[in-house]
């Protein structure tokens, strides 16, 4: 009874939360929510540039998102007021992206899909990109897990154990760029960081260890995808926003039961 497009949408959504769950935990622990926004907004510029230049959209998006991530990390490292720098970069990138999009005929009519996602239109080729990217991010996070968690807890302790905090930050920047690029078809550039933050924030109240929180965030993300798709199908709601709304509802419903 399920249609192909719905199955593809579910598979794409699950792929994205596989990366977004654990990465979202780092976003919460390191207060990187704004950083996620900056990267996601830059992705719109990436989409516009890719279409203008005829480059593959996923690669172009990852490229621009990586540059944005590097720029933000560089400014933060130089001691600029991070809040201000991120505000300028995030919204500047979004504005440039929107301006560029308006100049590209193919994108102008399609802009909503990039801003708010279009998970129901996901094609087989998209699935390859989404699962390829998500597997890459998950693999990267699992490979560096101990070092990443140590550097997140305390950079000085990490350095004394031979971990370079700057390198771990770079890994998170790369993971963020790839996650944004693959998530943009699912929930859209404006809601990507919500998909990172909200499931992790819900998991925080119940988790006893970093790993526990990462697994819970992934499961909550998966339930949100399923609920959002269900709501989209039954009530004809836009799928991306319905997924994030589900995640936010789970967060609210879980609030009274938090253990910590």
């Amino acid at each position: 009874m399920f249609d192909d497009f719905l199955i593809r949408a579910a598979i794409a959504g699950l792929g994205v939360v596989l990366a977004a769950g654990p990465l979202g935990c780092f976003v919460v622990w390191r207060r990187m929510a704004y950083f996620g926004d900056a990267t996601a907004h830059a992705a719109i510029l990436g989409v516009a540039l890719s279409l203008a230049l005829g480059a593959p959209v996923y690669l172009g998006t990852i490229g621009v998102a990586v540059v944005m991530g590097w720029l933000v990390a560089h400014l933060a490292g130089r001691g600029e007021a991070v809040d201000t720098a991120l505000g300028v970069l995030a919204h500047g990138a979004l504005a440039f992206g929107l301006v560029a999009a308006s100049l590209i005929p193919g994108l102008r009519n399609d802009l909503n899909a990039w801003l708010f996602g279009d998970i129901l239109m996901v094609q087989h080729a998209d699935l390859l990109w989404v699962w390829g990217g998500a597997t890459l991010v998950l693999g990267l996070l699992i490979w560096r897990w101990q070092a990443l968690v140590t550097a997140t807890v305390n950079e000085e302790l990490a350095m004394a154990s031979g971990i370079a905090p700057g390198r771990e930050r770079l890994i998170l920047t790369l993971a963020m760029a790839v996650t944004v690029a693959v998530a943009i078809r699912v929930v859209g550039a404006l809601l990507v960081s919500a998909l990172l933050v909200i499931p992790a924030a819900s998991a925080r109240g119940f988790a006893r260890s970093p790993e526990h929180m990462a697994v819970m965030a992934t499961l909550i993300g998966a339930v949100s995808v399923a609920a959002g798709l269900g709501a989209s199908l039954s009530a004809d709601l836009p799928a991306g926003p319905a997924i994030i709304a589900s995640a936010a509802l789970i967060f609210l419903l879980a609030l009274p039961f938090r253990r910590s």
């Binding site: 807890v153 302790l157 970093p210 910590s260």
Partner: protein, 265 residues
Amino acid sequence: MSGGPLIAAHRLTVRHAGAARAILQDVDFSIRSGEIVTVVGPNGSGKSTLVRAVLGHVALEAGEIRRQPELRIGYVPQRVHVDDRIPMTVRRFLSLPRRISDAAASAALSRTGADGLQARQITRLSGGQFQRVLLARSLLHAPQLLVLDEPTQGLDQPGIVAFYQLIEEIRQQTGAAVLMVSHDLLVVMRASDQVICLNGHVCCHGTPETVSAAPEYQALFGVDSAQTLALYRHRHDHDHDQSGLPQGDHACHLGAEHGALRHVR
């Protein structure tokens, strides 16, 4: 273990890029196996930079630091702040970044008097408990040198005294040398073999007696402080109170000593 020092610095000089004044200038010191060395000095005197240089975290402008090959260092940084958004039990914390066995975790915790804290969240511990957990973590991989940067910040006076007793016990049990930065002049000097009085350069160094009698030390911390120390040591010779806590009118001197310290800053 060879007879040479674990670590030896020669004419160590560190400067922030572009800064006119060096943070550390021509600093010499060495630490031998099993020795407790304390670095004292006013704020901004380069104490923490010295620690970072020992750990190899800062670039040297000049001079050198020689470490014994494969030297294992256990480190407790100054003011470890852990964001309470990261869920972390004491047990899990001890396995960062190298995973250790439950047995090794329990052994380290009981060595520092932090038994039974395994399942507690680290952000819910008291300052004293967290300090003991950090110390336990630094002991995990059989360090030859323990580096403690102002380890007693945030502890009350009895807590400070108890902490230094613990350090002494650990030194005796493990034979590890200890390099410690401290503001708690009085207690720390009593527990040290060697004191380095730092103010960008080494003002004076030696045994606690030599240093407290040195004019450089008195200039930096006030004559009052030196006299208090002498008095305290004298009293201590005759006072075998088991708690090791300062007693009687000593507390007033302790206050005066801290006052003098603040005045210099």
